[in-house]
């Protein structure tokens, strides 16, 4: 290779912005992706994921902001000068070249002598070695996607950008490729930036997940942190289901916990979870951003009468119970009309039926607080 393949450092985005005429596709992203990490970029359709990747690849010019790879500012360099490869959302395989020539395209540009052998190895990795002589259009969508993957990985770039690389695969192959991708990433130590719609995929594969929304980053962190302690209601609802109870205010009894007030109920909340500057002297000021207490459905328990009293208790009526095999999902209506979702494992514990009056409880360490204008 013309340049060393070892990662030279983290990828840093500073105020990265892209406008299309008046439309702001990417609105000032600040991000540092450590070298050799598996980074997932998660977000709804149209939030600017592809645009961000294209700027990192050098295919789209940022309207503002800088991109650093290690110590080097690569903002002004051209795509072909960056040791960055992309698995395109649309595959973008060359229709006039065989599968092997597609995979070998980058290595031949880099004047790698044994491009053929390395390309075959990459094709073996994606289980397509027997298709090397065929043209892309003779392959199924999932096969084409794997060729695109092989074509990018084979170059061993410093950063590999994967734009929904597993979108066209069936579930089984998808799981296999997820494991394979993770293995490759750990073996070769390339920085992976993996764009996906699939929150489960993001959380199982990535060291770090960033949730993107309407051109900006909502939250960046480890999967478990994002799931257990989402910073915004958006992140909470994007990563799985959650019950959000609107709060009216806090009071401070002192100690590890504070009391949150919701519809006349005093709920115990960990002090450490409160957003900074949250007033603890009763109700919120007029026009202040709304504050919610969030509890994941699987963290809610249906309390049996003989159970030790829980710190948090909310009474309600079961309106629906759906059995899903490993678990049962209940809808429990609160006196103020809100329905909470409760997921209980089918482990022989108490089962409720629609119409039953139940009491819900949860561990105060398992809830979270989000504050924002919803």
């Amino acid at each position: 290779m013309t340049k060393p393949t070892t990662s030279s450092g983290p990828l840093r985005l500073v105020g990265l912005t892209r406008h299309f005429d008046d439309f702001v596709a990417v609105a000032g992203i600040d991000l540092e992706v450590p070298a050799g990490s598996f980074f997932a970029l998660l977000g709804p359709s149209g939030c600017g994921k592809t645009t961000t990747l294209r700027m990192v690849a050098g295919l789209e010019e940022p309207t503002a902001g800088r991109i650093y790879l290690g110590d080097e500012d690569i903002t002004a360099t051209r795509a072909y000068q960056r040791r960055v490869n992309t698995v395109f959302q649309s595959y973008a395989l060359f229709p006039h070249l065989s599968v092997l020539d597609n995979v070998g395209f980058g290595l031949r540009q880099l004047k790698v002598a044994d491009w053929k052998q390395r390309s075959m190895e990459a094709l073996e990795l994606v289980q397509l070695a027997d298709r090397s002589r065929q043209r892309p259009r003779q392959l199924s969508g999932g096969m084409q996607q794997r060729v695109a993957l092989a074509r990018a990985i084979v170059n061993r770039p410093e950063v590999l950008l994967l734009d929904e690389p597993l979108g066209a695969l069936d579930l089984k192959l998808r799981r296999e490729m997820q494991i394979e991708l993770k293995r490759i990433q750990q073996e070769v130590g390339i920085t992976f930036i993996h764009v996906t719609h699939d929150q489960e995929e993001a959380m199982t594969m990535a060291d770090t997940v960033a949730v993107m929304n309407a051109g900006h980053l909502e939250q960046v962190g480890e999967p478990a942190a994002l799931y257990d302690r989402p910073a915004t209601a958006y992140v909470a609802s994007f990563l799985g289901q959650s019950n959000l109870l609107p709060l009216e205010g806090f009071s401070d009894p002192g100690g590890e916990f504070v009391t949150a007030h919701a519809h006349g109920n005093g709920l115990v909340v960990e002090r450490a979870q409160l957003p900074k500057g949250m007033p603890l002297d009763g109700g919120f000021a007029e026009g202040a951003p709304s504050v919610h207490l969030g509890i994941r459905p699987e963290k809610l328990r249906i309390l049996s009468p003989d159970e030790a009293p829980s710190a948090n208790r909310l009474g309600g009526t079961v309106t629906d119970a759906s059995f899903t095999g490993v678990a049962t999902t209940y809808l429990v209506a609160m006196p103020w009309g809100q329905e909470l979702t409760v997921t209980r494992p089918n482990d022989g514990s108490l089962r409720a039926r629609p119409g039953d009056a139940v009491v819900l409880g949860w561990d105060p360490h398992q809830s979270f607080v989000v504050s924002e204008a919803l």
Binding site: A57, Y80, A92, F94, H96, Q109, R137, N155
Partner: protein
């Protein structure tokens, strides 16, 4: 296939088979009749004419006189060579001018695309002869084009490579080739446009991403994907240009006579029909062979 599964019911297979042949045959009939009347019959009569002896006053008889071919070739081989040389040069010229133009129209013209396409074919609204005559004015000795070529020293360059004889442009090989390039440019641009327009520009992103700079992207992605357009464009230019006689007549001199001009003269002025017919036949066969070799080399059947 119909007999492979005798139990599967021969009837429906048959009826679909009959319908499968009838409609295409019906649709092809007018074209076949047309080709028979206006191509096969004239070609046979031309072939027979070329093998006849006699003269215009006493009539011709078919004597299988192949000597006409030998004589025609011996006398006019240089005209053939010149024609193919000019046609090839003009084809390269139209390709060099037409390729960037077609790319621009296909991918860079935005809302002006249709207007530009109309402009490409606009010369066809004027008569071929008039358009070519206009080049006499364009290349005239006192005109700005000649003035520019003289000022920049390009006239001496042209003279050095034998495209002109002195420091004028008109009535020279250069003028003939220029006329050919001008007249056949649309035949090059339109097929090129058609295949470049189809090209998925995301492939260019992919090439850039895979370390190909602009030049390599062109040679490894754009050019091979545009080959069908290049092949049809060059054929549509080369074939008529090789047989053209207007440009050499109006813009050339006695040293630039092309084979089309010779055939024209043999048919209409010398009235030596067998020689004219033989020359036409040689031209046709040569073009068919050249095209066959060319298409084989370009390997169009392997393309997308």
């Amino acid at each position: 296939m119909a007999f492979a599964h005798p139990i599967g019911g021969v009837r429906p297979v048959r009826s679909s088979r009959r319908r499968g042949y009838f409609v295409p045959v019906l649709l092809l009939t007018p074209a076949m009749l047309w080709l028979t009347v206006f191509f096969v019959v004239p070609t046979i009569s031309l072939a027979s004419q070329s093998l006849q002896t006699g003269d215009i006053d006493n009539g011709y008889t078919l004597t299988w006189n192949f000597q006409t071919y030998a004589d025609a070739l011996a006398r006019y081989w240089s005209h053939f060579l010149r024609s193919f040389g000019y046609a090839a040069t003009a084809t390269v010229g139209t390709l060099l001018l037409g390729y960037p133009l077609a790319w621009f129209i296909a991918h860079r013209s935005g809302k002006y695309k249709n207007a530009l396409l109309v402009l490409v074919v606009a010369p066809f609204f004027t008569n071929f002869l008039i358009r070519t005559l206009a080049w006499q004015i364009i290349l005239t000795d006192t005109g700005p084009v000649t003035g520019f070529f003289r000022a920049t020293g390009l006239t001496s360059v042209l003279q050095a490579v034998g495209l002109t004889n002195n420091d004028t442009l008109l009535f020279s090989p250069f003028a003939v080739v220029s006329g050919l390039v001008y007249n056949f440019l649309p035949f090059m641009v339109l097929p090129l446009y058609a295949s470049l327009e189809r090209l998925d520009t995301r492939l260019l992103d992919a090439a850039g991403d895979l370390y190909a700079n602009g030049w390599h992207t062109f040679w490894r992605v754009i050019w091979p994907l545009s080959l069908p357009g290049v092949v049809s464009g060059t054929l549509l230019t080369f074939i008529p240009a090789a047989g053209d006689y207007i440009n050499s007549k109006l813009l050339g001199n006695t040293q630039t006579v092309m084979i089309g001009q010779v055939i024209d003269a043999q048919f209409l002025r010398v009235l030596d029909y067998p020689t004219a017919a033989a020359l036409s036949f040689i031209l046709m066969i040569t073009i068919i062979i050249l095209v066959g070799v060319y298409v084989r080399i370009a390997g169009t059947e392997e393309l997308v």
